[in-house]
Every structure is written in structure tokens, then in C-alpha cells.
Amino acid sequence: MFGLLRSNYFAPRDYVSYDMKTGVLRARDGARLVAFPEQWSTGLLAGLEDECGDAWPVVMHRCGEWWGKRHMERLERELTAYYGSKLTDMPAVQVHATLAASFAAHGWGALSMDVTRIERGVLVARVENAAMAAALLSAKKDAKGRTVDGLLAGILSGMLSQASGGDVGCQEIACAARGDEQCVFVCTEKARLQEVPAWVRKQMPAAEILDRLDAARAP
């Protein structure tokens, strides 16, 4: 017979609680959450561009990376208690489903992981309704041909690095804000991603970027 029979830890009605009197939103473990509107996202992007110039994606990525690591540390504690099993001992598909539910519960969008290149050391994450891209689209702001979800790329990088104990880099290679069908992120060893930002700036299609990464890996 199986052990604990558990389902989605992040089901919204169990995961988020709201106290009207104190104005405090909390996650299931008691950690405080802050909801921010789309205007905040577009404001953050505009503010960073203004203050940091061309370095804005780096700043966003670093912020996301830091938060992603801390978020993953929390998830490891909470999910181990809930499922009665460490994340590293769970089937990969269950970890995937749980991370996707975590993303959705926190409002980052609908995450799906494409593991078809995992033997080649590449994980592809696709996100529908990614927060920053959706905010720009909603505000009808021009992404100027750029990918805008550096924060999310950093979050994925931080989470995967924390989970794997390695140093996983992540770059957005397609973005809904600039007209791509969905936001796509490539996650692999940081050293392999060095040329990717330049390819993205040239608006190289995501499929071609992935092929190039494959080719660079081939012996």
C-alpha cells in the first residue's frame, strides 16, 4: 500500500489566505505574500531601464536568481513535510507538476518543462501568461523586439541551481511580449549560454537557438 496520499499543495484555496483586517496575504506556511498589479511590472521595467540603461536585464536576472534560490529552499522544506518525501527522492514528473503548480499559484504563469533535450544537458521551460510579458501586452507597450522576462529567467536559474546543487543558467529565447507564441527559456550550464543573449538580440528563432546549442554540444 502507498504512503501519504497527497495532491496539489498549491491548490489556491489551501495555499493562499487573506486577512482583510490586517491587510495581510499569507502562503500556506505562514510566509507573507505581496500581490502586485501589472502596472507595477511595467513600472519596474521602465524604472530599471531608466536607472540602469542596457544593464536592466542583468539586474532583473540577478534579482530573480536570488529569489528563486530562496523560494526553492522554502519549497524543499514545505514539500518534504507535505508529501513525506524529499524532492530529490520524488519522481521527476511529480517534481515537475509541483513546480508548475507553484508557478501558477504565485502568478508567474503556466509552466511546462520540455525534457526532450535533457540527455544533452538542456531543459526547455515554456511559460504561458508569463507575468512581465503579459503586463506589457496588457498595457499595449512595445517590447522593442526584446525578451522581457529576465526576472523569470533568473527565478528558474535560481530554483534549478538550488534543486540540483549545481550552477544552472537560464535565458529567455522567445517572448510573447515581442510577438512570439509563448515565452521560452533555455536552461543549461552557464558556460553554454554565453552566446545566447547575442542570438536573442538578433531575434533568432528559439528552435534555431536550441539547434545551435545541440550542435555546439555534439562531439
Binding site: 500500500m1 502507498f2 496520499l5 495532491s7 496539489n8 498549491f10 491548490a11 489556491p12 484555496r13 489551501d14 521527476a92 514528473v93 511529480q94 515537475h96 507538476a97 509541483t98 508548475a100 503548480a101 501558477a104 511546462s112 518543462m113 520540455d114 525534457v115 515554456r126
Partner: protein, 162 residues
């Protein structure tokens, strides 16, 4: 708060309940005795239902019996999960809770395993076994929730995610 109770209260915002609303609320409260009895009936038959479903599923997909480690235990766990949470959704009269609590999450796993066809067969079989095992009125209350699971988990995944 139960979704049906919440709906009555929401409709009556800023006033007292009408006579009809009061009757509906009382009927709802009375219905819980029946719903709990159905849940007890499912609980009593759970092991029989799950075993019959798995026997038919492994007959239909024999390769899984020998191919995957602990297949029976995993199948038992998954079918039990859906049955228990569907029963709880029936108790609450809340299909959306069932989707949020189990189906959206479980579908990610089913799709990652490319198991939609297996899931469709397994949960359609669960509907069938429940109909044949429980008293008709009990089955009629539960099967609509199981059918939601069959349709959702058995639906085809998006091409790029497969």
C-alpha cells in the same frame, strides 16, 4: 464555506434570505446526511473498486504490469487518489475544487508520462466499476465527478509539451 451555500449568501447580499432561499439552504443542509452516507459507501467498497479497475487496466495494457517497477502500487495509488478526491468534491458539491486540488496538477504528470490514453481508459473504467458496484443513487451522485477526471486527464496534451 461550501460553494452552494456561498452562492445563496452572495445572491442575497444586502438583504435577508427569501423564503425560497431559506428552503434551498435547509434542503442543502439536509442533503449532507445523504452525501456523507454516499461517501461512507464509497469508502467501504474502495478496495474492491480499485482492484477491479486495475485488473481491467492491466488486462488492456499488459505491458505495464511487467515493464514498470511497482506498476500495481502506483496504479492503486493514482486510482485511489482520484476516487477519494472525487468523493470529497461530491460531498462539497464543488467540481472546481476537484480540478484545482487534483486534476490540473495530476494532468501535468499524466502528460509528462504520455499517458493520456491510459488515463482515459482507466478513469472511464473507474466510472463503469463504480456504477456496477455502488447502489445506483450513490453512483449517480459520484460518477459526474469521475467523468470530469476521465475527460480532463484523458484529454490530449498540447503537441509542444509531449
Amino acid at each position: 464555506m461550501n460553494v452552494e451555500v456561498r452562492s445563496i449568501i452572495k445572491t442575497a447580499e444586502g438583504r435577508y434570505l427569501t423564503s425560497d432561499e431559506s428552503v434551498n439552504l435547509l434542503d442543502l443542509v439536509k442533503s449532507y446526511e445523504r452525501r456523507l452516507a454516499i461517501m461512507k459507501s464509497v469508502e467501504a467498497k474502495e478496495s474492491i473498486i480499485v482492484r477491479q479497475v486495475l485488473e481491467r487496466a492491466f488486462e488492456r495494457y499488459p505491458k505495464f504490469a511487467g515493464e514498470r517497477a511497482m506498476s500495481y502500487e502506483k496504479g492503486e495509488r493514482d486510482v485511489t487518489l482520484v476516487l477519494r478526491y472525487a468523493s470529497m468534491a461530491m460531498l462539497q458539491g464543488d467540481a472546481e475544487w476537484f480540478r484545482e486540488k487534483v486534476l490540473y496538477w495530476f494532468k501535468t504528470i499524466v502528460d509528462a508520462m504520455v499517458f493520456a490514453d491510459v488515463a482515459r481508459f482507466t478513469y472511464a473504467t473507474l466510472e463503469d466499476v463504480v456504477q456496477k458496484t455502488l447502489p445506483r443513487a450513490d453512483a449517480d451522485a459520484l460518477v459526474p465527478y469521475l467523468h470530469i477526471a476521465t475527460e480532463y486527464l484523458g484529454g490530449q496534451a498540447k503537441e509542444e509539451n509531449r
